[in-house]
């Protein structure tokens, strides 16, 4: 405890310098927290992807459709538990920048395939009763302030209606929540039967299949078996694990991970340099005082501990302030207003941040601390 008094008075010696160093460290950690949240937004889809799920799409191109009768054929493949189809509706709600995924799907199949979508029994029944009903995620509801019972008009750019119109109207009768923080709750599910009977063309064709395998370890084999089933047919397929499929999209957006890690490293290195320099300067300035402390009986180890302790206090204050502010900033919402399906700071990364704080304290303070430890009293007193 006596050390604490010495540390705090050492820091209070040059208040402005201490304050500024804490502020620089704080900024480094705000950036750390925010960038981690951004990286998580890109990775989230991959993390929550079902390990026992495959995506089967048209081999030539994602935009090509597959026949609906493939479903029973896929289910007959060894190792397949259940297969369901989904299609891309691709409509516009009011204006193009209000982009969100609209997907025609068979309700009972959705309930079976995606246990991470939590829906109340009441809502399930409501959706099964209303042909034009839609199941909407909580995130999407909040984004547009929709209420249960709203009529949502969507302008279909791809699918014209049999009566010639392009505006489809849906009734919001069911809501789903995500089981985990990373679950995507920004989707809009339409009933497939309503979609199929109303669309002017493309009858009997669907976008892709989601398949659940009974043994996740055999996923790759089952995927190969599915592709073999349709090889050389009019519509060849490509089956892959759901996580890999989503990762493929993330990879297209760019090697975000690499860019973010580079920025973080650059920032940390710079801040470390500044903090370390400040610490070193402080020790040089106080050579005399440290020598006096040694003269009155503080051990070499004690002085080492003193300098490291100052470094630690500085970085802890700055780091925790930074992480706290980052948490606050992240909770203010997605900076891109809707491009990210989820946006939050994972607790795991907060712990990594805390670890980094300690590491930074050590790296910045170790050299000055060792210098202080080695001070020869007589020499130092003369300076």
């Amino acid at each position: 405890m006596k050390y604490f008094f010495l540390i705090s008075s050492g820091l209070k010696r040059k208040k402005i310098r201490t304050g500024l160093t804490i502020l620089s460290i704080m900024v480094a950690f705000i950036l750390f927290g925010y960038l981690t949240a951004i990286r998580q937004a890109f990775d989230a889809g991959v993390e929550v992807a079902g390990v026992d799920r495959l995506i089967v799409r048209h081999k030539v191109s994602l935009i090509q459709l597959l026949p609906q009768n493939y479903e029973s054929k896929i289910e007959r493949v060894d190792g397949v538990d259940n297969a369901i189809h989904s299609t891309w509706f691709g409509g516009i709600y009011k204006e193009p920048r209000n982009f969100f995924a609209q997907i025609p799907i068979v309700p009972e199949e959705l309930f079976d395939m995606y246990p991470e979508y939590i829906i109340s029994d009441e809502h399930k029944a409501a959706w099964l009763e209303t042909r034009s009903g839609v199941l909407v995620g909580r995130g999407l509801m909040d984004r547009f302030d929709w209420k249960l019972g709203d009529r949502i008009p969507i302008n279909a750019t791809i699918w014209g209606k049999k009566d010639g119109g392009r505006t489809w109207e849906f009734d919001l009768v069911a809501i789903y929540e995500g089981a985990e923080k990373g679950t995507d709750t920004s989707q809009f599910f339409i009933r497939y039967d309503f979609f199929d009977e109303t669309r002017a063309n493309g009858g009997g064709l669907v976008g892709w299949y989601t398949v659940r395998v009974s043994d996740p370890d055999k996923a790759a084999e089952v995927a190969a078996a599915i592709d073999a089933e349709f090889a050389n047919s009019a519509h060849e397929t490509k089956a892959e694990a759901e996580g890999a499929f989503i990762q493929g999209f993330a990879n297209q957006i760019g090697n975000i991970y690499f860019i973010i890690m580079s920025i973080m490293s650059a920032v940390f290195f710079t801040i470390l340099l500044v903090a370390g320099n400040t610490m070193a300067y402080t020790v040089r300035e106080r050579t005399n005082e440290l020598a006096v402390l040694k003269a009155i009986g503080f051990t070499d180890r004690g002085v080492l501990g003193l300098v490291l302790g100052e470094s630690l206090v500085l970085t802890i204050i700055g780091g925790t302030l930074g992480l706290g502010l980052a948490w606050f900033l992240v909770s203010m919402g997605d900076p891109t207003q809707g491009s990210f399906p989820v946006f939050y700071l994972p607790v795991r990364d907060v712990f990594i941040g805390l670890g980094l704080i300690i590491a930074m304290a050590f790296v910045a303070g170790i050299i000055p601390a060792l210098q202080a430890q080695k001070l020869q009293i007589a020499d130092a007193l003369r300076r």
Binding site: K14, I16, R17, L20, T21, L23, S24, V27, A28, I30, L31, Y34, L35, I38, K59, V60, S61, L62, I63, Q64, G90, I92, P96, R97, F99, N155, T157, I158, R166, N232, E236, K238, A244, Q247, G248, F249, N251, Q252, I253, G254, N255, I259, I263, A266, V267, F269, T270, I271, L273, V274, N277, T278, Y281, E285, N288, P335, T336, S339
Partner: protein, 396 residues
């Protein structure tokens, strides 16, 4: 007045010459600014690169016609008959080959990326003979043009650089068929360089599109001819189309990606900038406090406060400028021209682009650095000039 001025020169000269004594902290401050500027320029060059690709080489007299209600080629659909009607509209330029109107089909095909090996959505465009003439910056750089009616394609330089299997002589698998890559083209750095082109008549049956297209690209007689052209098409009862200037079309396509990158980039730059200001302030305060006695001596000798403030600020500005220059230079060396690709949300396909570190960005980076230097030097300078002389002289 002259006295004041010569004081400034003297003190500044003096402090510059004593700079080597403070080499350690000066270099640190400089490096801090270098880091910030390099990262800021790097991140913003991504947005510049995307912008450049999307807007480049689109002349004022180029227009595109989509189906009414569509915002992108991908979502649009035009019957073959409609494209013939559109080609008869007034205002379209002609040359010896005929009317410069090009009906085109736009689909995506999956090919692995060279960097990660995972699949990307690569744009595949079905064209007719006019496509090359409508785009004035089109140039074949390797190989030859494909033969009409055959399973041959040409690829853009950007596409070739990002996706696997597009070398000259390679074949891409499309369903049961193999399409041969016979040529490589450039298009003035524009979006077309991320695409693969093939004869529309070959693409339509491969993707089961019948006789339909998605867009008609036209080259107008002049920029003013657009209004007449648009009027004729929108008032034609046989058609239900949306003519746009090509530049406008690209602007609307790029908005999402550009806004996202610029928004994120600016946010990161601002936060880093704040960090840099604190770091610079810290270093300058430390630098000044190490010279306290020196400064106090100067003041005791009779130098006024003003020149001292100016000398400290100019030292800070010099360091910031040097740091900014190095940072901008590093960013330019490391990032300019770096080829990569991202996802164009509007068309759901990949666009290849190069990081673009242009003069405007470099200037912005250095300005930013100077701003940091100014703020970082001002407060310590004022503080140094205000301290009571006797007290400062006594300080260690």
């Amino acid at each position: 007045m002259f006295n004041w001025f010569s004081q400034i020169v003297a003190v500044t000269h003096f402090s510059m010459r004593s700079l080597p004594q403070r080499a350690g902290s000066s270099v640190t401050a400089m490096l801090g600014i270098t880091g910030v500027v390099a990262v800021m320029v790097g991140v913003l060059s991504i947005a510049q690169g995307v912008l450049r690709t999307m807007e480049s080489s689109v002349g004022d007299n180029n227009a595109i016609v989509l189906r009414s209600g569509s915002d992108t080629e991908m979502m649009s659909g035009l019957a073959g008959e409609d494209t013939r009607i559109i080609a008869e509209a007034p205002g379209i330029a002609r040359d010896e080959t005929g009317v410069l109107a090009s009906p085109e089909l736009f689909v995506i095909i999956n090919l692995p990326m060279l960097t990660t090996g995972t699949d990307a959505n690569v744009p595949l465009r079905g064209v007719q003979t006019q496509a090359m003439s409508v785009r004035s910056s089109f140039r074949l750089v390797e190989g030859r043009m494909f033969e009409w009616g055959l399973n041959e394609v040409i690829v853009g330089t950007g596409a070739q650089g990002q996706f696997a299997g597009l070398g000259l002589g390679a074949s891409i698998e499309v369903g049961q068929e193999k399409w041969l890559v016979v040529g490589v083209f450039e298009a003035g750095g524009g979006l077309a360089e991320s695409e693969i082109w093939v004869d529309a008549a070959v693409l339509q049956p491969a993707f089961r599109r019948g006789n339909s297209y998605q867009a008609v690209y036209v080259k107008l007689e002049s920029s003013d001819a657009f209004d007449e052209f648009k009027e004729a098409l929108t008032s034609d009862p046989r058609l239900n189309v949306k003519p746009m200037r090509e530049a406008e079309y690209y602007a609307s396509q790029s908005t999402v990606v550009y806004n996202m990158i610029t928004g994120l980039g600016t946010l990161i730059a601002v936060i880093m900038g704040m960090g840099a200001v604190f770091g610079a302030l810290n270093t300058m305060y430390t630098a000044v406090s190490s010279r306290n006695r020196e400064i106090a001596t100067l003041r005791a000798l009779g130098f006024r406060a003003g020149p001292i403030v100016i000398s400290v600020v100019s030292e800070s500005l010099l360091l910031a400028f040097a740091g900014g220059l190095i940072g901008a230079g590093l960013a330019w060396l490391a990032f300019d021209g770096f080829l990569t690709s991202t996802l164009n949300w509007a068309s759901f396909s990949a666009i290849t682009f190069a990081f673009d570190v242009n003069a405007k960005l470099l200037a912005q980076g250095i300005m930013f650095a100077m701003l940091i230097g100014l703020v970082g030097g001002l407060f310590p300078a004022i503080r140094a000039a205000r301290q009571p002389v006797a007290q400062a002289l006594r300080e260690l």
